[in-house]
């Protein structure tokens, strides 16, 4: 029998690794993969919690999670693709047109 904390910890580690990918990698696709890992860490936690409480809600959560993150991912992917198509943007560094300009002098 796996203690809840252990499985949650695995989920937390996955979540953290996903975050690490988002934070450390620059390629947009990697970022999306990082997000996937984060979501999966969460899903693991959900299922683990469901196991702990012995209810269906954990799994329901995981299923919703899959459906909804997929929807989100798809839209994000198409945007990444658009970015590549229009600007040949692969990395986050290629998308820095929107930013604070240098403040002009004002009273």
């Amino acid at each position: 029998m796996i203690p809840l904390t252990h499985s949650l910890f695995v989920g937390a580690l996955l979540f953290t690794l996903g975050a690490a990918v988002v934070l450390l990698r620059r390629e947009l696709l990697f970022l999306l993969m990082g997000l996937e890992i984060m979501f999966n860490g969460a899903a693991l936690s959900a299922v683990a919690a469901g196991q702990h409480w012995q209810g269906a809600e954990g799994q329901v959560l995981a299923i919703f999670l899959m459906a909804i993150t997929t929807a989100e991912l798809v839209v994000a992917l198409i945007l990444v693709w658009l970015a590549y198509q229009r600007f040949q943007a692969i990395c986050v560094d290629d998308l820095v047109a929107l930013r604070d300009g240098r403040s002009e002098d004002s009273p």
Partner: protein, 648 residues
């Protein structure tokens, strides 16, 4: 009669208002006469008051309550008692005469409207000052005359020097005024009222604050009356037209200080130290003024210093408790000094604005009448015994000084002053009217009536007023002091024979002074080219010796005084004060306004801008950075809650 009391100040006030508002509509030629009429009505009312019994019983009139706060209700109200009656008579009488004189004197001036507006206003203010039944109203008049003085000194404002003189006068007297104001506040706080009627009976108790208040009032009086050390403005005030000098800076306004002290004398009697200070300042000023007068070449400046010196006598009298005598000298001085100023003004006028006595002499500007008038005035000033008013008033003061504490010293100084008075005024007289050379100008014809009449009237008064009060022990009547006795205490007198000696000595002083003037003038006229030996050769050895031993050192001392004390110490002091203000203000502006305050602001603004710039730099468009920020926030919130003491 009481119901018409308001007319005394009211008539010139209404005159002033009319000139201000409707002056443009009046024909220019009528304007002076209109102003004269306003002054005349005032003088007539005073005359009517004499007849109407003011000499016996004080007249009172309250016009309205000025302010009413917390049960305190200072009114706009007048009291015409004997003290006030004297003042009112002098002010309205001399004032009227000078108005008349101005008609001719100022007839070529462009801005007569302004002139007469201020003259009338001044008269009104001065009359309010002396008629006021409470200190607050007195202060009102006090300030009003100061203002008019300022405006009239600077009448020829296009000349910056003259405009500056006006400002100087105003500023310096304002120092005195503020002291007076503080005194008023202290009195108010102590007694809850400022009305003379209520105040002074109260003031006769034992009150510790009396000294402070008396001192403050003294400072106020010193400022207005141009006594040491606040005398500096008066000589400069001669920048104004001569009638102004005569009216304001000789006859009336400068004596307001004397009036004030006489009015508040119960207070001074509670503070004997201060009273003695009054006397001491008086004598010092006498000598100071006289010595300075000795060294002047500008005729009006001589007269100005002379005024300073003469008011010193009045202060001496006040300091000795001889209030009636102070007032007596005030009256006589008003006559002869006005006379002198008006004569001098006529001279200057006809000499085309020349002030230098030497050149006036060369120009031979004065006609016979003027010379005569000036002589009468000078004699009265120098206190030529027996037939001049100045003699009677000054002599009595000298006698009274003897019995004051340290009276011998006071007397000595005063007598010295008397001597010098003779010297300097006759130096002027001689220089201007007695020449050896042929005159450059022919004397003009007859004087215009508006000038001649006041001159002659004043001359007559300068000779006659003295008979109101004969010296102690002379057997003559003491009309003046007896009459005023009910309001002002009588002066104490020394023993009979001492009095006699003193009287003799003072008479001698006056004559000696005049006598000393002759060699002085002669020496002067010779200028530097005249060697000392020639004096000796012509047989005026005594004079020469005297001159060498006495006059010349005095001359030197006087000019040194003029130079060092006047311009050096005091002028520098005043300048220093002004400069000090300026530097302080500039320093404040630099240090605080643009420094701390503005810098604090700038610091804040720059800080905010830095903050903005730093934060703005984080908005660099980099996706990863944004994610980092989100993570940081999460960590911070979680950590804040998990690891902070108050965390769950």
């Amino acid at each position: 009669m009481s119901t018409w009391l308001w007319l005394i100040p009211g008539s010139p006030f209404v005159g002033a208002l009319t000139i201000a508002l409707l002056g443009g509509r009046l024909p220019a030629a009528r304007l002076p006469w209109f102003a004269c009429a306003a002054a005349g009505i005032s003088a007539l009312t005073v005359a009517a008051a004499w007849l109407g019994g003011a000499a016996q019983e004080p007249l009172r009139q309250t016009l309205y309550i000025w302010l009413a706060v917390d049960g305190w209700q200072p009114s706009v109200g007048f009291t015409l008692d004997r003290l006030a009656l004297v003042m009112v008579t002098v002010v309205s009488g001399v004032g009227f005469l000078i108005h008349v004189y101005s008609v001719a004197f100022m007839d070529k001036e462009a801005e007569q409207r302004r002139y007469y507006f201020y003259m009338n206003l001044f008269l009104a203010g001065m009359l309010v000052l002396v008629l006021a039944d409470n200190l607050l109203l007195l202060y009102f008049g006090w300030e009003m005359v100061g203002l008019c003085s300022f405006a009239l000194i600077g009448f020829w404002y296009r000349d910056p020097v003259k405009a500056a003189a006006g400002r100087k006068a105003f500023t310096v007297t304002r120092i005195g005024d503020t002291a007076l104001a503080i005194a008023i506040f202290l009195l108010f706080v102590q007694f809850g009222t400022l009305s003379f009627d209520v105040l002074f009976p109260l003031g006769e108790g034992d009150w510790e604050g009396a000294t402070a208040v008396a001192l403050l009032i003294l400072v106020g009086a010193l400022g207005k009356s141009a006594q040491l050390p606040l005398q500096v403005w008066l000589p400069d005030a001669m920048a104004g037209p001569s009638p102004v000098s005569a009216l304001i800076h000789a006859a009336t306004m400068v004596t307001a200080g004397v009036y004030l002290i006489a009015r508040t004398h119960p207070l001074f009697e509670l503070a004997p130290g201060v009273q003695w200070t009054v006397a001491a300042i008086g004598v010092l000023t006498i000598v100071y003024g006289a010595s300075c007068a000795l060294a002047q070449h500008d005729i009006k400046r001589v007269l100005a210093y002379s005024t300073v010196s003469q008011i010193g006598y009045m202060f001496l009298a006040l300091g000795c408790g001889a209030y009636a005598l102070a007032l007596f000298h005030l009256a006589t001085h008003a006559c002869f000094k006005a006379l002198l100023f008006l004569s001098a003004g006529t001279l200057i006028h006809s000499a085309g604005g020349e002030h230098h006595i030497g050149r006036l002499g060369e120009l031979n500007a004065g006609s016979r009448t003027v010379q005569l008038c000036f002589l009468v005035g000078a004699a009265s000033l120098a206190a030529v015994p027996f037939f001049t008013a100045g003699f009677y008033s000054k002599d009595a003061i000298l006698t009274a000084a003897w019995v004051a504490p340290v009276g011998g010293l006071l007397w000595l100084f005063a007598a010295l002053g008397a001597l010098l008075t003779g010297v300097y005024i006759f130096r002027v007289y001689l220089t201007v009217f007695h020449r050896s050379a042929e005159p450059l100008l022919r004397p003009r014809g007859r004087l215009p009536t508006p000038i001649a009449v006041p001159l002659l009237l004043l001359a007559a008064l300068s000779l006659s007023v003295g008979f109101l009060e004969f010296p102690e022990g002379s057997g003559g009547p003491h009309t003046w002091s007896t009459w005023l006795e009910s309001e002002l205490d009588l002066a104490k007198h020394p023993e009979h024979h001492t009095t006699r000696v003193l009287q003799a000595l003072s008479a001698l002083m006056a004559v000696a002074g005049i006598a000393l003037a002759f060699p002085l003038v002669r020496r002067e006229r010779a200028g530097k080219s005249l060697p000392w030996q020639s004096f000796l050769q012509t047989g005026w050895r005594f004079d020469a010796l005297y001159a060498r031993l006495f006059v010349q050192p005095y001359h030197r001392t006087a000019s040194a005084l003029a130079r060092w004390v006047e311009q050096g110490l005091i002028e520098a002091g005043l300048n220093g004060l002004t400069r000090g203000f300026w530097v302080m203000a500039a320093g404040l502006r630099r240090g605080v306004e643009f420094g701390s305050v503005e810098r604090g602001l700038t610091f804040l603004v720059v800080g905010l801008q830095r903050g903005h710039a730093m934060l703005s730099a984080t908005q660099n468009g980099l996706l990863s950075r944004y994610a980092v920020s989100v993570t940081t926030g999460t960590l911070a919130l979680l950590g804040f809650w998990l690891f902070w003491p108050w965390g769950g």
